[in-house]
Symmetry: C2
Subunit: 334 residues, 2 copies
Amino acid sequence: MERYRGAHVLVTGALGFIGSQIARRLVQLGAEVTGIDSSQPGSGANPFNLEGIRDQMRFVPADQRDAEALRELVADQHVIFNLAGQVSHLDSMRDPLTDLELNCRAHLTLLEACRAVNPRARIVFASTRQVYGRPDYVPVDERHPLRPTDVNGIHKLAAEQYHLLYYRVYGIRTTALRLTNTYGPGMLVRTDRQTFLGWFIRQALDGETIRIFGDGTQLRDFTFVDDAVDAFLLAGVTDAVVGDVFNVGGIGPASLYNVARLLVELAGRGGIELVPFPPEKKAIDVGSVYNDDTRLRRATGWTPKVDLREGLTRTLEFYRAHRDHYWPAAAGTA
Amino acid sequence: MERYRGAHVLVTGALGFIGSQIARRLVQLGAEVTGIDSSQPGSGANPFNLEGIRDQMRFVPADQRDAEALRELVADQHVIFNLAGQVSHLDSMRDPLTDLELNCRAHLTLLEACRAVNPRARIVFASTRQVYGRPDYVPVDERHPLRPTDVNGIHKLAAEQYHLLYYRVYGIRTTALRLTNTYGPGMLVRTDRQTFLGWFIRQALDGETIRIFGDGTQLRDFTFVDDAVDAFLLAGVTDAVVGDVFNVGGIGPASLYNVARLLVELAGRGGIELVPFPPEKKAIDVGSVYNDDTRLRRATGWTPKVDLREGLTRTLEFYRAHRDHYWPAAAGTA
């Protein structure tokens, strides 16, 4: 990690959950950090995510589809953490053309900019285990067939393939990390349109009843954001992962019901209810799924350090302290 | 094929090679044919491809990305043959954002239009064996891993996945056909930027030297366009292929050298030269590749009928008669 001291690093999606935490760590490590974000409506972009580090980095409110701006921004970067994207599966089905813009055009534009002015940049792209679709087996390893179950998964897969292609054809040193459920301070908890865990957290803190679709036995694995940041930063300085794709797993698997129960216990409030799947969610549900991340651990030495109890505790503490920045007060809790 | 009589059928990319031949056959079968094409610069769109049937069908010069126009055009169609697309691998690398527009946005727009106003339409999409990339084994079947080697392949795969997704989620009855090298009257022979065989044909007819990259032993299979039209039309009326993807193969495999030799023999002119790969082509070359189309033959009864000698003979005859519509006269041949 010493290699980030003084390094020029660009973070896209820097107002988002994981992007902002990467920027925060990089600032601590003494990197020259530039963050960009276009603050898409409905996205996880939140100015508060960069609270306390804004004067130790450069932030540019750029749209990653702006080719001219991108060429200038990537020109002198040593490492680029490419976290920008639309992450809601449901939104990708309701508005597939916007998903195409944000999850395909934006990344092609970034890669074209690097090809034009900075082919020596090191790029780490945030992909998702969603590219596997409903798994044939668990844990899912990187050889699993790629069968995305929604527009978002199709576009994330295309974007991942762009990154690997630009390595094979142009030698741009890219790596794609297929993330699983990542959680922690800064995640979007305002709506139920992105991660289920963010919504569970919000509901527990508001003393509401967490509704789980199905019987609650669906298994998931979880990466606390500090561990995810470790994975990105290690990938950015490990030659062995260049031009390849790796799963990022974490702690687990745990059932949705048990995660919700732990959350209610730690929050000291909230309840749990099992309800049938609504058709629009059932159509794109993937059942139990969790990642085999053996290859990443071997290649980089990465290992997740924060278990679910500790991670959820730290997350709940964060939102208790800063909830006003993340969601409007519920009636009776203001 | 009787089922096409009186059927309302939309063909996208109707000025292109395969699209126009599908339109021609449908007119013969008594269908009510609408063709659309946006005549993209550099594409295979050629008004002469609809010569002789223009008054027996409706042609609309629409851009498939025009959502409003599309909703009107798809509204009363029973079957849609979705042939529009950018097919040059090299162009997709030089201008990936245009490839994204033509190979992703256009198809999402069509599918969204069907979802909105005509979810009962039957759609057959022209995909490509390029989605497999450099094959692990030949012949390539549909279980082969998907590893496109250029931007065009990435986008064709995404478009194929859109079609299958809209079946799974919305019940729109789609089929994707992964075509191999399709050739015949109406194919683009003007430049070397699309199919190698089109360019070989043009060179043989102009008495030029056909340059083959590598040692000429690379194997390919070939589908004469009449056989490809059969495959599309059968797929459009076969319930067993709904929601699935099928290879289309043909006659072969044959080596590039032997194909060129046959062509020079049939043309009665031209020569052959083996030359080393230029780097930009080597980077996206896939070696020997040909399709296993057992599943399509079983599901639809399709079988290719035209062998390479007959197909090339008919193709050469067509271009001898109509070359003025397909490429500028070479010096000394006018």
